[in-house]
Amino acid sequence: MSTRTSTRGSGTEIVGPKGAYLTTRLRTLGEHRSLTAGLLILAAVVFLALAGENLTPFDPTRSFVSVGDRAYSIPPLLPPGSTVKLEGQVELLFVLGTDHLGRDVLSRIVSGARFVLTVALVATAISAAIGVTLGLLSGYLGGALDRAVSLVMDSMYAFPGLVLAIAVAALLGTGILNMATAIAVVYIPSYYRMVRSAVLSLKSLPFVDALRVMGMDTPSILFRHIAPNALYSIIAVLPVNFADAVITEAALSFLGLGISPPTPDWGYDLNTGRRYFLSGHWWIGAFPGMMIVLTVLGFLLVGEGLGERFNPRRLIRR
């Protein structure tokens, strides 16, 4: 019996034809595992983002609670699990504690999801749109345009992304769109590169010549035939870049370049938490930090799973 080896996936060494089937099974299961896990996490986070406001027990931007027509101010720096008794048998529970201004940490985390995901989504959309378009044009048309744009893109790609994002964020200021633009600038080169290299390998394939011979004009060839195939190459990268965008957003807010308070944001709360960490109030920063990690993990896992399925090399060799 010949030894089957697997060059990707779980790398399991199996012996025998029966083993061969098992290898394939395990490989797809492996992909599925990460993909499923990732999707589950993401679903939870997205759910929080969408339904967030209705789920939060308290207003994440207010440090007082209105019961009836009286306003009670919430004590700051309550540890997780604290309860506060108001008059008239009303008892408030702060599952994850309150922050330094008396706002409920749980509510802030849940609401933060919406902001963070929105910024990351818009940023990814912008950078993908610009990067892909440029990559398509540059790769297909070639020549001086290609060389010039590649030069600019390579320069930007080599450059520390965070520093670039800081510069643009400082220029534009606070707000969802501004932050998203600042982050988007960082990722344009990676989409550009991938699409361009996919286009380069695609355009030398015989079917392109065939289309040209048939009289199809360049824009149609480019957008109706090459583009969809080229897009496969970025599918696996999209979630990873999304994850990166979340981290960059957190970093920008951490440095104070992001949102304007009192909008809840994980990175910003992490920065606040840092100030209170040493005095023992760990929950203010710890929970937002965990949310960042969780969300990013979710996207990474999805990206992994997709990566296995949508590997461009496998597709073309099909």
Binding site: R62, S63, L101, G102, S260, P261, P262, R275, Y276, S279
Partner: protein, 538 residues
Amino acid sequence: MVKNRAISKTATLAILVVAVLLVVGGIAAYYMTAAGPQAPTVKRIKETLIIGTTDSVQTTLDPAEAYDYLGVNIIQNMGEGLFAYEPSTTRIVNRLAESYTISSDRKVWEIKIRTDAKFQDGSPLTAQDVVWSWERTMKLNQDPAFLIADLIEKAEAVDRNTVRVHLKEPFEETYVKALLSTWVAFPVNPKTSPMEVVKPPKTLDMIGPYKLQEWRPGEHIVLVANPNYYGEKPKTPTVIIRFYKDPQSLRLAVERGEIDVAFRTLSPADLKDLLNNPKLQVVSGPGIAPIRYMVFNVNKEPFNNKLVRQAIAYLVDRNAIVNTVFMGRFAQPLYSMVPIGFLGHKDSFKEIYGDRPNVERATALLRQAGFSETNKLKMELWYTPIRYTPAEGDIAAILKQNLEASGMIEVELKSADWATYRTLFREEKIAVWLLGWFPDFLDPDNYVRPFYHSKANGWLHVNYANPDVDRLIDQQILLPTNDRVRALGMIQDKVAEDAPIIPLWQEGQYAIAQPNVKGIVLDTSQIFRYYLIYAELS
């Protein structure tokens, strides 16, 4: 195969031994080098004192130009003027001035200079040096120059040790001495001082307990005792001022004993923690640097309407800010632009608006001004996140809540970094913003004139002009003390009623030090005198 194993075993053992040695040696070296110099234990006092701060020198160490807290403070330790504040009091005493007489019209002062004072290079101080230094400051005309440029009409050296000063107006005695004790009036050595601003990492030759040994921008400044100083030698021969980037690093440094003193600025939460730490001492003092306030550009709608401003004055909850952000003990609510502890301070805002938010009165005023629950006043409240406290955003959030509690105001919070912020209010693009004020000199005049006098408050762009107030401000510096206090009281009442500026709070000064450190004095002068501090070795 066996050979390979044997070699690797020896190699592993060797590596282990080296590693252990390195670690042990390292720990020893670390504690040795971190704990202080290997000075013989004969000396009772530490040779070198390390002070940590989050401030940095934002301008230069040239007294004609320095205008930030740390720069000025270091100059205060390297130089001296004719007069100075006596530590722990608010009295101004003679330093380089031996005596003085004032003419009957109060416009001419004759000041006798000490004969034993010498510059760092050994040359004795003369009256000509004093006059030259003042002329230099006024010629270079940098930011703080106005402190003496607005005071002195002409100065001349009558003889080697007498300076005759012709004032622009017959100013009150304490006022004149206060201005002459500011750093811009410090004599500098004409032989070595150029007629241009001296840039980092250099400074000028002045007369003082310390001189500058080294300045690595962004890292540290090293001061050493000035052997040619006529006065008392500093308690600690060498002082290192180490810069930290944020309050957490500073706190960690003092907690772990990496520095002897931490001064400016720890966050209130950390301060509260450290107060409970038996291994450190906390020294506190009256704080006026900075005072914090909210400004309206009274040319802008609807803040041109006094009723709106007054309504907001009724709504702000100073206690909420003090109790949450400052943990209830590291700041005080401020009810006048003249800080607590100053001559003539009056809690005018408290007298008119109370010390608790009064939502009923506020809504009544807003209604009068034409606003209601359905026709809300929509406004932006601006703040700048880094310059003052790291909790600026939180403070703005509290104020937003305060104002929206009326049900008739909608506040949008906006922020910008300092450079943009300044541009925004200078170009009158914003209507309501938060600001802070560090005193130039310690006199109540420095807390009313720059804000309320129509000829002096142009920098603030508050656009407030009240001729009665102008008149009172002009008068008060010329009056004898009791009358002056009355005049100041009237000014504070008037401006509280007009409310173009709403004072909010003033913060205390706090220094955290190792238990063996003595001599820290935190007084109203806000000068942190390194030359008084020393650390005892057991």
